[in-house]
Structures are given as C-alpha cells and as structure tokens.
Amino acid sequence: MPFIPHTPDDTRSMLEAIDVDGIAALFEEIPASLRAQSLAGVPPAVTEREIGRLMHERAFADGGFLTFIGAGAYEHHIPAAVWEITTRGEFYTAYTPYQAEASQGTLQLLYEFQTMIASLTGLEVANASLYDGASALAEAVLMAVRLHGSSRRVLMPETVHPYYRKVVATIVGAQSITLEALPMDDRGRTALAAVTEKLPGAAALVIPQPNFFGLLEDVHEMASAARAAGALAIGVVNPLACAWLAPPGEWGPGCDIAVGEGQPLGVPLSSGGPYFGFMATRREHVRQMPGRLVGRTADAAGHEAFTLTLQAREQHIRRSKATSNICTNQGLLVTAATIHMALLGPAGLRQVALASHANTARLVERLTQIPGVERAFPETPFFHEAALRIKAPVGDVLRALEAQGILGGYPLGETYPGWEDGLLVCATETKTEADIAHFAEHLERIVTKRRLDPPCAYKDDNTRRA
C-alpha cells in the first residue's frame, strides 16, 4: 500500500484497541447507500518507476524551445542554490506558521521577504504574498475601494495585461464595483486626457509599469492626477524592472498600493504556475491590506522572534467581515524569491534588468531590419518587451517558427481587436547574440517567403536544448 505503513498486525491490534472487528465498522455512521462506490475511472496504481518513465516522456515532448514570449511570464536564469534550498523538506513540507515557536525559519524568511518587496516597490510595508499577479491586482482593487469609502468606480487602462483585467472582473464582479476602461493613445500609453476626464469621483486608478506592450507609462503624471482627484493610485509592476526603473513609491507623490507578479524573481515558468503575487502599501493602509503579515517581536525571554500578526483582519477571525477570503500565501515560491534576491543582491538584480532591456533592444533592432516588420510604437521607451507589426499572417509565421523550435512571441490579436498583425516579443538576459540572430534569420526567411533554407524537422536530439 503506497505510503501507508501499517502491518497486518498493526491493523489488528489497533482495531482491538478501538474494540471493533474491522475497518468497515468505523464507517457505520455513513448511510449505507453512499458507501463503497466504483472507481472504474481511476487507473490502477503504477510504480514509481512506471510513472517516472511516463512523465519523462511527457516532459521531453514539451521541452526544448527557444522562447521569445513574455506577456506576463519571463524566462530568467535561476541560480542552482535557489531551488536546492527551497525544496529542503523543512521548507517544502511545513505549513502556515500558526505555531510561531516551531516555524521561526519560515517566519524570519517571510519578514526578510516583506522587507525586500517593500524596498523594491519603494513603499513601507509588504504582505507575505498573494496567489499571482492578476489576483493580487483584484485584491488591490478591493482594498482601494475599502480605503476610499465612498466610490466604487475604478479606472483600468486597456494597457493593463488583458488576463489581469479578466481576473479582476471575475473576482470583484459580485461586489458592485465598476471597472472603467481607459483607452491607449497613439504612442501605446494610457491617454492622459481620458485619465483626467474620468478621475473625478473615482476610487482608484490602476497604473501599469511597464504596460502590457512593454512600454513605459507617464507614471508620475498619472499618480499625481490620482492624488489630486482624491483617488488611490495602484501600481502594477514587474518586480525586476523596479531594480532599475522608478518604483511605485517614487511615482509623483507616490502610489498607495503596489502589486505585481513575482515570477521573475526565481520562479520557473512552469506553464503558468505556481507563481506568487506581491503587494505593498503605505503604513497607514496596512489594516486594510489582505493576506498574511509577519511581524518582528520578542519571545518570553526577550529574544528576537517572529510571528504572524494583525490576524484580526483575516477570515479565520473575522469570517464574513474579513478583508479577503484568502487563507495562505504562496510560501514556497516566496522562499525561492527571497533566496533568489539574496543571491543576486541589489547590483545583480539591476544587472539582470539592464541586460534584459539591452537584449530586447538588440532583438527589436535586428527584427525591424526585416522588410515588413516594424515597431508599433517606435517613439515610446520600453523595458524588455516590444510590440511589432508584421506584414504577414502572424499565426502562420508563429507556426513556421515553431517548426524550427522557436516560440516567436505573443500574438496580440488574441486579446486586442485590430491587432491581428501584432506580435509582442521579449528577450531577457537568457538570450545570446546567436539566439537573436537565429530568430531573426528564420523570421526573415518566413516573412519574405525566401525558401533558401527549406524548413526541416527541428526536433532531433542534436539541436534540442536541454
């Protein structure tokens, strides 16, 4: 029996101690008509070796592509030590630190994490994480509405990640909150005229930096306008970018809340999760912040100690009056992120941000040399992603690239009407000059329909990337 240690003798003696004649007797309070159903749809047990073989085959089939997709999840180098330490059983198999004395490791780590996120975002306090970037934004919207008190209207630029906007709509949808869209201007940024027009009477303004197109918004103007109108400013940021670009705390008078996707900080792409969302705010707003918080305190002997704090905001105490129904954080991912940030340090993190920016600049320069490929917003600075317009059917181009082992970007037509010719590309620090050249050569061949190198099967073992 997998993972069950009982010998027949154990079972017998335990049943004797309980004074029943079989395990079935322990279930006698359950109506008989409900018991012992068929499990025909569950496959029979396999051994560790058999499942290992199956999963190796499946993982091998899925792997080995050269990826230029960003769009909210980014390939970065993760130092080997990060997951070596993170998957130690003492971190991996512990639970939420309810018993502080038996959880000082996790608690201190979370306190260090909160410190790092507060500094990255330029704000005073951060929580111990939320599920992911999109759900963190939804929680920020709810928090802003609670803080504002009299308005339930939130301004949401169209340049915010389309899936973030969908998730926010799902989560706040039942609470009579209006999400008002803000259009983008012809430079790919949120139209400031629309911001000033719609801000009066709004509870909050969401400000993405960089935005979904990789572009840098007028964050100082937007945050200032929000403050002047009595609305809260919510920054949605890439945490890596914050090591180089101005963080939300520095925008105009400073944002009230900053959230984002933590994945670029040591979390593998892993088909979309698990990732973690982060949230930081001003100290005066902390009691309206959802999620776990760790505080530094002392033990009975006066020594430094850490514990969960302000739990009175949470569902297990406040029930239907809680700030959120959230119970946990994304502890294991935060463990990885904390170790990752400690290993990179301030210089390392900034260097990764700069390298990603520089690589994308090189990629864009190289790709726009191809006839029929141009930048959608050539005048607007970007962080590490850029929107291109391609004079060829984007779906066909991407399929042709995929046949060569290249994932060429995110087709913007998927989520933006009128962008059927749009492609969002990203080159992080993981891409070499040769990778960029390889992508450009194939794109050029496909777009210009030159058939000098006939497409051939890419996936042979000599060329696949481990």
Binding site: P2, A36, T87, G89, A94, A102, S135, G345, P346, A355
Partner: protein, 485 residues
C-alpha cells in the same frame, strides 16, 4: 540574525550576473529608480548557510509528526516533486502553443478525469489556485446559476456555525448575506434550524462533510433533499475529503458543486503556507459556469477550453491556467496511489484517528462528541482540564512542541471551548501514534502536578513563547537600514 545584517557593501556574486554591454537607452532619467535597493550583499555560501539554518528552525512533515486538524499533513512523496520539476515542464511558457504542451495537458486532463470519478461530479476545472479560490469559484457558480434562471431573490448563503472562516468570507466576497445554522449536540446540522433558514432567499448551503467537528453528518441525504426542495444548491467544501476518499462520493451525497484541496488530500506540499490548488467539480447543470481555462480532448489532442467556447463561464481566476506545477504533483500522487489505494487512504486515516481518540480518551482527555466515531480527525475539549488546572489548549500545544510533536489545530472550531482538532493522517505508523500518546500522557500528568511547566512552554525550541500582543502593537513589518544599532 537577518540576512541584511550579514550584508557588506560591494560583495557580489558574479556567477549570477549577466555580462552586458549596455547600448544607449532611450529611457528618460525621470523614469529611473532614485532610492537605493535594500537587498543584502552576501556571498553564495552565506546565503546557502543562512537559509539552511533558517530551515532548521521549522517543524515540517519531514521532521515531525504534524497532526494539524483539517490540514491533512501527510507524507508528500518525493517522486511527485522530482517529476513535476523536470526541465520540460518547468521551462514551458504558459502562453506557448498547445502543440508544445501535450505532455502537460495530457497529465492535467487525466487528473481532471480522476477527480471527476472520485467526487462523482460531471465536470472539473483545475484552475483555482487555492482552496479559498476554489470556494470563491464554487459560490460564484451558484450565483451564476441562479442569475441564469432569472431567479433573482436568492441573496443568502447558509453556513453551519462550525464552518471554517473562509466559507463566510467567500460568501461575502460573492455578494451574499451569510446566515449561520446551528449544529445539534451530536455535531450534526440542526434540521429544525435548517428548515427555519431555508426559503426563497436561499441561494445555497455550504457544508464540509465530514465536518470540522470531526464527525460525518448522518442526515446528509435529508439535508440535500430539503435544500434542493427550497431551490438552493449544495456546496461541498472538500477540506476533509481525505476521510472518505474513494469510499463516498460527494456527488452521491447530493452536492452540486465542490472544491478540493489538492495540498491536503492529494499530498502536494504545503510549502510553509502555499502554493495550494483548489480544483472545482460541478454537477451537470453547473457545467456551463466552470472557471476557465480547463483541458479538453479531441481525438487524442489536448487543448484549453476558454471563454471563447464557454461564454457563461464565471471567468478566469489566475493570470494563466492555475498552479500547474502543483497539479502535476497531484497527478503523480494519484497515479501511484491508484484505484486500489484511494479507499485505503480513507480506511487508514480513519483507523489512525479512531485509535488515537480511544487512547487519548482513556488518559482522561475529553472528546467533544464522545458518542460519535472519529472520521479522519477528532475534536477534544480541555474545558474541564482548564477549570481544574488552569491549563489551556495553547499550553498543551506549546508543550507538545517541546516533546517533538507539532501541535494540533487549536481553538477551531470557535464554538467548542479550549479545543484541539487532531488529524493523524494515514501515513503515520502505529509507533508514531503511540509516542504521541505517551507525550500526551506526560502532559496530562504535568497539567495536574506542575502546570507552571506548561505555562512556560516551549522551553526547548529556538525561541520561547512568542509575544504576539507586542507584535501587533509594535508592528515591525520590515527591516530598515537606519534601524541598525
């Protein structure tokens, strides 16, 4: 010592620094960071040693018996972690084409099918990222269902008093008024109270069965009949599914919608508090509302089912498709346990709980429901012990830490005074349970002979009892360089 206090200006790890010849950037100076970044400057060895030592200040399943009630802290098989972390899975971008993720999609599809079978539901979506998000999805589907029928007056969700706090918090998030229902003196729902609450305002009833009181509600079929007769739907909180896995299907009990906690029943790691995964299952009539995306299969090819073909879906809950890495771990676990293994999980989880209950009751510990069988967990109340000795549930919990056991869940459910909710799980051996009984026997003796020892516990951990009041008052939530003494 904090990692920041080990920092020394100028120390870097060049192995992790990409080499860049930075070309001129057109990013204006005003958009660049002005304030210094508070991250430590430490060597790789310092980092590895610091966090390894921190890890050793934790209790974990791998190091200690962890009988935390309603949390199902069972062994997390290493193979699930190893296989979920194969490079082909880890390196795949979430927006990569479906053609490049057939292995991952096949695994998720098969997991959906397995969960469908063990829950007796018509359809499953794996996308909720935690139990609480699964709950949210479930209640949002109830709302969408009534709305779709133009059945507008249903603005109440009924929840038993003993329920976990997420239930009412979720109902409130979904815009519902919460109405609490009493339980009777045997831990079952009070049917008269239920009848009094049911009516045209009832959207649904959220129920955990076995309940958080550690007993199976014997009237479940009658409860389902009455809720349905009133036009409400029945929500199953899968927190305690380990008690009945492979033996009783929530769908057969009459539930319309269910969430599972894969980090409990399917043994994915708790990770110090996440990530979890909270898949939802639904009966036929709720299928159109399932959260997207989930996996479909056509002639052996797997694909995402999205809002494009499910316009009535309650929508998306995560940026991409949920906690894939957690789902792969659950899939590996489900395959290794297999058809034969699933009912054995419920069998041995229940055997362990009943054995522990009988042994502890013989020592003098008072079961909250002495006439009932334990399910996979049971509830003790220390009300009498406290009256006689002044010893509280917290004192017992802290003393257990000294004796090398993680404490059970304490003070939950709130309605039972000084309670301990104990869940041993099926993966603990009889020897481990006996050692726990011995520790509880010593604590019983100490409570009567030297209660001050319990009050002062723990004394053998890295820290003594932590001052939570001071933490809330001082609210020190982040280290600051200027605070360095």
């Amino acid at each position: 010592m904090l990692i920041f206090e080990r920092s020394k200006p100028g120390r870097t790890n060049s192995a992790h620094m990409p080499v860049v010849s930075t070309p001129p950037s057109d990013v204006p100076e005003t958009l660049l960071r002005r304030t210094p970044l508070v991250l430590p400057e430490v060597s790789e060895l310092q980092v590895v040693r610091h966090y390894t030592r921190l890890s050793q200040r934790n209790f974990a399943i791998d190091t200690h018996f962890y009988p935390l009630g309603s949390c199902t802290m069972k062994y997390n098989p290493r193979i699930a972690n190893r296989l979920a972390m194969l490079p082909g899975f880890l390196d795949r971008h979430p927006l990569a084409p479906e053609t490049t993720g057939q292995g991952m999609l096949a695994s998720l599809f098969e997991l959906q099918e397995i969960l469908r079978e063990v829950t007796g539901m018509a359809g499953v979506s794996l996308t909720p990222m935690a139990g609480a998000q699964g709950e949210f999805a479930g209640v949002a589907m109830i709302r969408a269902y009534h709305k779709g029928r133009h059945d507008e007056g249903r603005d109440q969700i009924l929840i038993p008093k003993a329920a976990h706090g997420t239930n009412p918090a979720t109902a409130a998030m979904c815009g519902y008024e919460v109405r609490e229902i009493d339980v009777d003196d045997q831990g079952d729902i009070d049917l008269a109270a239920l009848d009094a609450a049911l009516g045209p305002r009832t959207a649904g009833l959220m129920l955990t069965n076995p309940s958080t009181l550690g007993v199976f509600d014997r009237h479940i079929l009658e409860i389902a009949r009455r809720v349905h007769a009133a036009g409400g739907l029945l929500y199953y909180d899968g927190a305690n599914l380990n008690a009945i896995l492979g033996k009783v299907k929530p769908g057969d009990m009459g539930f319309d919608v269910i969430h599972l906690n894969l980090h409990k029943t399917f043994s994915t790691p708790h990770g110090g508090g996440g990530p979890g995964a909270g898949p939802v299952g639904v009966a036929e009539r709720l299928l159109p509302f399932l959260p997207v995306p989930y996996v479909g299969e056509t002639r052996g090819q797997y694909h995402w089912i999205t809002e494009k073909t499910r316009p009535q879906s309650i929508g998306r809950l995560s940026t991409f498709m949920g906690n894939t890495g957690v789902l792969l771990r659950a899939y590996v676990y489900a395959r290794v346990v297999g058809r034969e293994g699933m009912p054995r999980i419920a069998d041995y989880a229940t055997l362990n709980a009943n054995y522990l209950l009988v042994r502890l009751a013989r020592l003098g510990y008072e079961p909250a429901y002495p006439k009932r069988r334990a399910t996979h967990e049971f509830l003790l109340t220390l009300k009498t012990l406290k009256e006689r000795t002044g010893v509280t549930a917290t004192d017992v919990a802290k003393r257990l830490l000294d004796k090398g056991f993680h404490a059970p869940t304490v003070y939950f459910p709130l309605m039972v005074p000084e309670c301990l909710l104990i869940e041993p799980t099926e993966t603990e051996s009889r020897e481990e349970l006996d050692a726990f009984v011995t520790a509880m026997e010593e604590i019983w003796r100490e409570a009567h002979e030297s209660p001050e020892v319990l009050k002062a516990a723990p004394e053998r951990l890295p820290v003594r009892r932590v001052d939570e009041v001071r933490a809330a008052r001082g609210l020190d939530l982040a280290w600051r360089p200027e605070a360095r003494a």
